[in-house]
Symmetry: C3
Subunit: 405 residues, 3 copies
């Protein structure tokens, strides 16, 4: 893509002119087509502003604020001088995010996950240390929820507001008067995209998010589509493991509870297969065992896995015990099977006592009694921190989809 910029581009193989740093504090348009490595397909002019507010992205231009500009200058200035090209130049500050939408866990490769997690760490700092971040000031997110999920909705809305963005809420889009009158999802999306800059959608039908993304000219994030995908949950789970254990390669994870129906554990197993030397233990009542498709996939990727009926033994070996809720609604009339299944693997202080000191307990929440309340006070109970990490992952994704790296 040709640069539309009239200012002379500075070449990668020359030191960045000193005056550039100064210019960063004004407003200018420049091309960095030559600055980034040849792997980069990106050569949009950048619009840099020192204002607290962004200028709306010009066509073919990338918007950067002062902080980003400083980071960009520092990083790229050094790179230029050293004539080095980072492998992850695709994730360089100022670049466009590789994804237009976030629809399913399969979209993310390991490098992209690492880069997103780095942004999520920045988001932790923003949320904790600064007041009123303005990164997404002027942006409007529409939460289009066709089934209620207050936890997920609040998490996304908090993420948007923590970054200075605004929110339009539809808590019960299924009764959206238009949907009730027979309007198609596509028509609804074409209307809502006119009112907002990004759509976060939860739907009761598998595949709905993909249809929405195919229609929308603005980014769509899947916040769960029925029995289908819930990619931000999958990302926050992997992020939590990295944050808690400090690594993803070489970890041992016990997945416990309803492994047949839980999309959470299925997505997690899928994403863990991208890392090296991972060992997965499946601990579940017989009626809700992990299905063969995931086991086969893990085997094909060389991931070691094992089924076990002994939670204590697994807990003693694992870095992560990932507990899940046995869902009553999956058992229909067979409440006897439900009662048998749900009482079988409880994480309590006995389990804690056998776990390693550095290991953690995770849970996607809500929990009923599959983790006893007296576990909460133990520092290895990571599930509320995990919920909080959902905020950082969603902040990161909103930032990436709306303003790029």
């Amino acid at each position: 893509m040709a640069s539309t910029c009239s200012l002379p581009a500075f070449n990668l193989h020359q030191a960045m002119p000193t005056s550039k740093a100064t210019m960063c504090y004004g407003k200018f348009l420049c091309s960095y087509s030559n600055l980034v490595s040849k792997q980069s397909v990106q050569s949009k002019p950048i619009f840099i502003s020192t204002d607290s507010t962004y200028a709306r992205v010009l066509p073919n231009a990338i918007s950067m604020n002062r902080r980003e500009c400083e980071r960009f200058s520092l990083r790229n200035g050094l790179l230029c001088k050293a004539l080095e090209i980072e492998n992850n130049s695709l994730f360089r500050v100022g670049n466009k995010f590789q994804l237009d939408d976030v629809i399913e866990a399969q979209q993310f490769d390991r490098d992209t996950l690492s880069a997103i997690f780095e942004v999520a760490r920045d988001m932790e700092k923003i949320e904790k240390n600064s007041f009123g971040s303005q990164i997404l000031k002027g942006y409007l997110m529409a939460t289009l929820f066709y089934e209620p999920s207050t936890r997920t909705r609040l998490s996304f809305e908090s993420a948007m507001k923590r970054l200075g963005g605004e929110v339009l809420t539809t808590e019960n889009a299924r009764e959206f008067s238009s949907a009730a009158k027979g309007e198609t999802l596509e028509d609804t999306i074409r209307t809502v995209e006119g009112y907002s800059d990004i759509i976060v959608m939860r739907h009761f039908e598998s595949g709905a998010a993909r249809r929405a993304a195919a229609t929308a000219s603005i980014p769509v994030i899947n916040a769960g589509d029925g029995p289908g995908q819930h990619p931000t949950q999958a990302l926050l789970d992997v992020y939590t493991i990295e944050r808690e254990i400090g690594k993803l390669n070489g970890i041992k994870v016990g997945l416990v509870g309803d492994l047949a129906n839980g999309r959470t554990v299925r997505s997690l197993a899928y994403l863990l297969s991208k890392y090296l030397d991972v060992k997965i233990y499946f601990v579940s009542p017989d009626v809700v065992k992990m299905k063969d498709d995931i086991k086969d996939y893990l085997s094909s990727k060389g991931v070691a896995w094992e089924e076990s009926g002994d939670l204590m033994e697994v807990a003693s070996k694992c870095d992560v015990v990932y507990q899940t809720r046995i869902q009553r609604e999956r058992f229909g009339e067979r409440t006897d099977l439900y009662e048998e299944a749900r009482g079988k693997y409880i994480v309590d202080r006995n389990v804690l006592s056998i776990m390693q000191k550095h290991a953690v307990i995770m849970h996607p929440l809500p929990r009923l009694d599959e983790i006893t309340v007296d576990v909460d006070e133990d520092p290895r109970a990571a599930y509320f921190r995990q919920a909080k990490n959902g905020l950082y992952i969603r902040m990161a994704l909103l930032k990436l989809l709306l303003v790029g790296w």
Copy 2:
């Protein structure tokens, strides 16, 4: 109204002193009672601020921000020098909006419509080119919806937020605990007006908006009151015709579908009667024909109209084909009549093929199958642009009611 201003007023018949332009960038109070034409009844002192935030309007003062001030200076400065007085001085930047509330389409004359449309065009630019407009910063809009209408609600809330304003939402005011307990609409309004600066109300009863406006000390916008009025829809329809066709005088419009029950087409016909050489074609199944009151009104205003059963012929002649949905609920038990009516006039690629190149298809949405999906990709399919225009019209009305021209 006497000026409460202590600064000397500058006279219309003298050139504006040069220093005035400079003063605009500070904060001062001045009178423009003599500046504007004699038709103007407005002579409030103006409070001008260079801050990004408005100063709350002083009693008897008009608030202007820097941008408005610049426009005011330029326009009026030039006017002063040329000793010219524009006809539309009532709509001059800084003047109060003529309406206290927006309740029904009948409130708008042609000049006011033109002036509002000019503001709506400004709003398009603001929405597209600038980030985080602050025109309505500090203002709070309450959306008081006694029946759900997510499309309309999101459109108003997006409009408010695009201008920097804030929103209090009540999606289901009918179950408003107080209304459920028997509180009158008037009492509810007296409470809500204490929490907000403007009320956007949708109600299931015709006339409710008028009652609310009669009670409230703050502006009320009618976002639809039952079978009554929905004036912002009427305005956005006319605005869309002007934007798409480039004119309103001399146009030919085909109104298609349910003309008996659709308040949309009734209001549109009413507003089109204000323009010159308009020709209206009514195309509808017999059971839902346009009622005599509108036909008589058009005749009395000298508007040419014609009923036709031939959609193809009408489509070939019209600038605008305005399709509407046949509403099943109007037919009660007679589903046979409904099925017959709804299948009769479908806008499809055949209709498109006969339409003129510059003509457009409009629809108030939601649509079912009265416009086939394959029409969407044609540039003459204007209905999603029309929905978007609702945003600009609502931005314009919010701006006008809260801060004036």
Copy 3:
């Protein structure tokens, strides 16, 4: 608590160095452990910023904005020089609020009430005279409503937004998917506290607010918990009496209507007992008389009270006639008793005619016909002003809980 501050603390018994005043306009950390009186337990370093936005509160630091800093300097500067120590040093600008949560009326003593009312007066000025206050910019309030109460919710949300804060709304947390799935209130709170800075909760169970506050690491405000407490209503009632009558000591208050079930009148009677020479009249149908616990409490505090069946006589003597709604749902099948009770004490123009000129009529709203509509226009009808005062009280409490005095 030891000061964590590295800057030298200035001593109370020395005049504040002149340079301090200047420093206030920059950014610095100082200790005021010695500045405040010995009664104060507070010795946190203060973070002072001239920015329009707050810096996020550092651990062990108190955040002040420029206006607060000026007030702090002026007041304390003078105090220092005069070596005087005010009694209410606990309420000095910059100090932390004494309460971590607002759960019940019993938390407030008379001095605290006075100090809160002073802040509420400031809030009136902010709401009326300035646009877009930024006092709570960057703060996020979650409204967690387990039963709908639009009036209370809008009041809190308006309060937050009037101070520049942001809001996450859950209008129907009872159907909160997680609560519906059996999640405990405690788990919900642990999740929501991760997304927000303060929780405003309404619940259908008495004691729920206390449980939430015990769990949350952020402030919780009780917006009504079933038959339990509704402390912000109690505060706004007392505030309204002070604003309308000009005093609280020596007043005569007639409580009228359903005194058995109304938590409003019970809390009000309780709070009035903190003032001197108060006289309370109970006027109610026999079936809904004030219960003995409150009567006994008043007697134990030396508050004069009297039951009366003569509304006219009471109205002629009182400063405040506090009318309440007779709630049909309290009478079950006995609609005959309900009809008898509800028609018995109506405040109408006859009652008005006998009231003193300075006296006022109050009502917690919604009202049905226990106050006739023709009373509304009389300046002594204070109930809509009372509703508005709820906004100021809630602004004050949000400000106090989030940024302190």
